[in-house]
């Protein structure tokens, strides 16, 4: 249930306040004077689910350009990607990519490594203590930015938010922080997700009907406070040693981004509408997992449709996910089960059901994006939505055969409706292809030595 924001334009107060003003001539929605799709921004969305997949039930059937997710010989069998059957023409199913970078750098634990390498395609780095315990890097990090941030650098423009991170029970494991985070600006610059849909709503869409004069005053006050604070930061930075100074600089950068989001007025796109108010919800309760995910996806789609951001991610739980899919009738937890699938048929079927459920959520996301009309096309047409996983096989923590699904063509830059066997190619190459699709002129991403260039199929 979305409330259209007609004849209004969005003026952000930032930090919990975004308001609608009566439309002014100068703030006409961009699409009103753009008939085609060329003027619409390009977007990138990450959709993460954990613990690998069951390949023989995930793989499409047929050929590269003519495939199905339902087994014609056994249509009753639950197949993981079946919920995506209606969207085949908008997909690129990518089988058999590998996290080759995992063979490099420090770290040993498959969950640490898988999650850290997943979006960075780069090595891990040890913390300043030099204390890399066998399994985990207790104060370590990643070596470079995640792909969402690299793409944001190319496409984010002057949107209020360079990126927005959402999480569904994406709770931090204090002893294994690398397993619970996936988006990074760079080493030790983690972007934590917002787990609370209501807080996200308040941040992005609240006060839509507030008095414009009040909002203008609020913005002026906030700007004056942040300016004053910024001076404290600058003066202090000058007195600190190098590593402390770096921390303060990064903090000040965050404040500057906040200030920028206060200053950027922007016109609404046609598809922009008020998302459903999530309401207060025990967002950390296991059984609310589907509800929280649904609420986040609604906010993500509208944040994109309203051009509040062009890059967003949804992190379903964490590597080593302890989610219990009680709504599917399961008693045990996802991670525990992922280690029991190889010799237990019942659990294997339950894992298929879990991944099938995630496919349903992915389908719901791209369906919602298709419902946002932008010129001659839809929001999905102007986007790439990437479903990724930190493992190939949850039991062996395999870095091979990682399943990916892309949806959307980034405005025609990617040819969809295809199934590609990447034959063990480094996932770096996928990210190079994506960066190019979004207009970056790059030959490598992440750990350069495992890159072989963009994927020719893309």
């Amino acid at each position: 249930m979305r409330r259209p924001i007609s004849r209004r334009t969005l003026l952000r107060g930032a930090g919990g306040v975004a308001i609608a003003l009566p439309m002014l001539e100068a703030m006409l929605p961009r699409s009103s004077h753009a008939g085609g799709t060329a003027d619409f921004p390009r977007r990138f969305v990450v959709f993460f689910s954990a613990n690998g997949t069951i390949h023989e039930r995930w793989n499409p059937m047929g050929s590269a350009n003519d495939f199905t997710f339902v087994d014609p010989a056994n249509p009753e069998q639950l197949r993981i990607l079946a919920p995506l059957e209606p969207h085949k023409a908008d997909l690129v199913v990518l089988q058999n990519l590998a996290q080759q970078s995992r063979s490099h750098g420090p770290g040993g634990n498959g969950h640490d490594m898988g999650m850290g390498h997943m979006l960075t395609a780069n090595t891990l780095v040890e913390g300043p203590s030099g204390y890399a315990e066998f399994s985990h890097l207790p104060d370590g990090s990643v070596a470079g930015p995640s792909i969402d941030q690299a793409i944001a650098e190319v496409i984010s423009g002057t949107t209020p938010y360079r990126s927005l991170e959402f999480g569904v029970r994406a709770n931090l494991d204090l002893a294994r922080q690398l397993t619970s985070r996936m988006c990074y600006r760079g080493p030790f610059e983690v972007l934590p997700p917002e787990n609370d849909p209501q807080a996200a709503f308040d941040r992005l869409f609240a006060d839509l009907d507030a008095d414009p004069a009040e909002i203008a005053t609020l913005r002026a006050k906030r700007k004056s406070v942040l300016d004053r604070v910024g001076e404290d930061f600058l003066r202090l930075e000058a007195k600190l040693g190098a590593s402390d100074r770096q921390k303060l600089e990064s903090h000040l950068d965050a404040i500057r981004e906040l200030e920028q989001s206060l200053s950027n007025d922007h016109g609404l796109l046609d598809g922009c509408a008020m998302p459903t108010v999530p309401g207060k919800l025990d967002y950390d309760a296991n059984d609310n997992y589907p509800l929280v995910g649904q609420a986040h996806m609604d906010l993500m789609v509208m944040a994109l449709a309203c051009d509040l951001t062009r890059v967003t991610s949804l992190q379903w739980s964490t590597a080593q996910s302890g989610t219990r899919f009680t709504w599917l009738g399961h008693g045990s937890d996802h991670h525990g089960m992922s280690h029991e699938a190889d010799n237990d048929e019942v659990i294997r079927e339950q894992l298929v059901a879990i991944n099938h459920w995630y496919a349903e959520q992915f389908a719901a996301l791209i369906t919602a994006m298709k419902q946002v009309v932008e010129g001659d096309g839809t929001l999905l047409d102007h986007s790439v939505v990437m479903w990724c996983n930190e493992q190939g096989n949850g039991d062996t923590h395999s870095a091979q055969e990682i399943p990916y699904v892309l949806a959307g063509s980034a405005g025609g830059a990617i040819e969809t409706g295809r199934w590609i066997d990447a034959q063990g190619r480094a996932h770096n190459d996928l990210y190079v292809s994506l960066l190019r699709a979004f207009g970056a002129d790059v030959d490598t991403f992440g750990l350069a030595e495992v890159c072989t260039g963009p994927m020719p199929e893309l």
């Binding site: 066998f134 404290d232 009680t326 062996t396 870095a399």
Partner: protein, 559 residues
């Protein structure tokens, strides 16, 4: 797909090499530390002599700038304004090395900046509802002199040091500008918002005392007051501590120790202790924990909440009412239950209101090892998890971290078998020599806790079969077979490795960083020596944390 046998030799070698080289355990596993009576440690040269690891000049190690954690932010706001609304509840979760305050790992994202702004606005709005309580003058006649006085007094509390003349003048000018536009109330609010988003509030800024070219400097008195208060309270200094800073009475180790002993008597120390323990003992997940309804139909949110209350009460009692030792944490024969939790555990109802101390008879009780919260968290949703329980003891209590399964190893946990006990199933699995090399270090510890089911309840049978709670410790300074939780607790209570590990965990939490084996050798030895001298009383360890090179000194800020 590879299987266990693929890596047999590498894994076993790796495991033993790992245990021998594991950091954070000193040399307790060299076989020479059988004497665990507590009279000094391997890191000391003798009873009264200087600590060998310490040289002529202090070695404080690194001292990264520290930002308030959400826990510290909330406590500080409460102490400043009496505002107990927990404004940091929605801050992003952060941390590393097992603790939420690891200064090397945590960083500020744009989401943080926005949350800080929102929190500052909300706190300032509440604080300025009653200007009479906030300002040192009649709110009906607020003039610049009043604000100047307020900045002197309150500014010192917010930034935990006196404002210098420039800062004072800037804030006053900021106030005056804001008052012209928005009036007194809102101007005061904006000044507060500014101060609460300033690095001088959000960070613990230290420069140390000026020195003539030394690499190592002492802390200034205000800096020391802040170090003490956040270490022992997780909050800002109180009036006494500020007065000591103002009077220059935090300059010597003895003065610092006297304050530490005073501070440990205050209620804030209790909250900090629990905050440490829920991280060290990894039981925060008890909040909202759910279990498989088929396996544990009676386990619901009320039981999980009661188990949280139980372990909190237990830890508080050991530290503050009992002797406060690590041994008591691991062996105390009592716990705390209300009638409902007693019924769940099949214990006699204690009666009375709320939690009551009880000493169960006819079953193993071993301090935190048999706390319901611990056992329920270190378990699967539908059954026990001996590996997780054993791994918990190794990682959190012994500070030895077994290596992970090698890449691409096909891990085959034992299938569910209703005609066998969990132990029988895991033992069969462990018969594979490729896996047993490392799993011998974990699983047999967990087997000793099999008399407690996956929700923390005592049991003597499983699937109609008698529980075998025989276990074994290996690769420790207290190796050998044992039976049941009480024997395990007693064994660990006599372990120097465990006491050293407790020191290590407190070092990480107390100083917000992982120890460096070289640079922090002296501070670690100082901690262990004093901990031993204090009979391994955790309160003495807390005092000891204020007496190390790492606490009393810091590296000079490089030019």
């Amino acid at each position: 797909m590879r299987t266990c046998t693929w890596v047999m030799s590498m894994l076993v070698a790796g495991c033993y090499a790992g245990i021998d080289g594991g950091a954070g355990q000193g040399d307790a596993d060299t076989g020479e530390s059988d004497d665990t009576a507590g009279a000094g440690t391997a890191a000391t040269t003798g009873d009264d002599g200087p600590i060998a690891a310490c040289g002529e000049t202090p070695s404080p190690g690194l001292s990264p700038i520290r930002r308030l954690t959400p826990f510290e932010y909330d406590a500080t706001i409460e102490d400043l304004f009496g505002d107990d609304s927990h404004p940091a509840a929605g801050f992003p979760q952060e941390g590393g090395s097992g603790f939420d305050n690891n200064a090397d790992v945590i960083s500020v994202s744009p989401l943080h900046a926005e949350k800080y702004m929102q929190a500052a606005e909300a706190v300032a709005a509440r604080a300025t509802e009653d200007l009479a309580a906030l300002l040192p003058c009649d709110p009906a006649s607020v003039d610049d002199a009043c604000i100047a006085d307020w900045l002197d007094e309150f500014g010192e509390r917010v930034w935990r040091r006196p404002l210098d003349a420039t800062e004072h003048a800037e804030l006053l000018a900021f106030y005056q500008g804001a008052r012209e536009l928005h009036g007194v109330n809102e101007a005061v609010s904006l000044v507060l918002q500014t101060m609460l988003q300033s690095p001088y509030f959000l960070y613990r800024v230290e420069f140390g005392l000026p020195s003539a070219g030394d690499d190592v400097v002492r802390l200034g008195d205000w800096e020391m007051a802040t170090r003490l208060s956040y270490l022992l309270w997780g909050s800002m200094p109180d009036d006494t501590l500020f007065a000591a800073a103002r009077a220059g009475e935090l300059a010597t180790a003895e003065q610092v120790e006297a304050q530490a002993r005073r501070m440990l008597e205050q209620p804030r120390a209790r909250a900090m202790l629990l905050h440490f323990h829920e991280q060290w003992l990894d039981y925060a997940a008890i909040d909202g924990l759910t279990k498989d309804a088929e396996a544990f139909p009676d386990y619901g949110p009320d039981i999980a909440a009661a188990q949280r209350a139980e372990i909190d009460a237990f830890i508080e009692h050991v530290i503050w009412e009992d002797d406060g030792t690590v041994a008591s944490l691991l062996t105390a024969p009592y716990t705390f239950v209300d009638d409902a939790l007693a019924a769940y555990y099949d214990l006699p109802a204690p009666g009375g209101a709320g939690l009551q101390q009880v000493t169960p008879v006819g079953r193993d009780v071993a301090g935190v090892l048999t706390q319901g919260a611990m056992l329920a968290v270190q378990a699967k949703p539908h059954e026990t998890h001996p590996i997780a329980r054993g791994l918990f003891v190794r990682e959190q209590l012994l500070c030895t971290i077994p290596p992970p399964p090698p890449p691409d190893l096909d891990i085959v946990p034992p299938p569910v078998d209703p005609t066998a006990t969990t132990r029988e199933r895991y033992e069969q699995h462990r018969n594979d020599p490729a896996c047993s090399g490392c799993h011998n270090l974990m699983d047999p510890i967990g087997f000793g806790l099999e008399t407690f089911d996956g929700s923390g309840r005592w049991r003597t049978t499983e699937n109609g079969l008698a529980i075998d709670a025989a276990g074994e410790l290996a690769g420790t300074d207290v190796d050998g077979p044992f039976v049941g939780a009480a024997e395990l607790g007693a064994r660990l209570a006599g372990s120097q490795m465990v006491n050293d590990c407790v020191s290590t965990q407190w070092f990480r939490y107390g100083y917000g960083r992982t120890e460096s084996p070289e640079q922090d050798a002296c501070s670690m030895a100082q901690l262990r020596e004093r901990f031993a001298a204090g009979g391994f009383d955790i309160k003495e360890l807390l005092v000891a944390l204020t007496q190390t090179d790492a606490f009393l000194f810091r590296p000079a800020v490089e030019g």
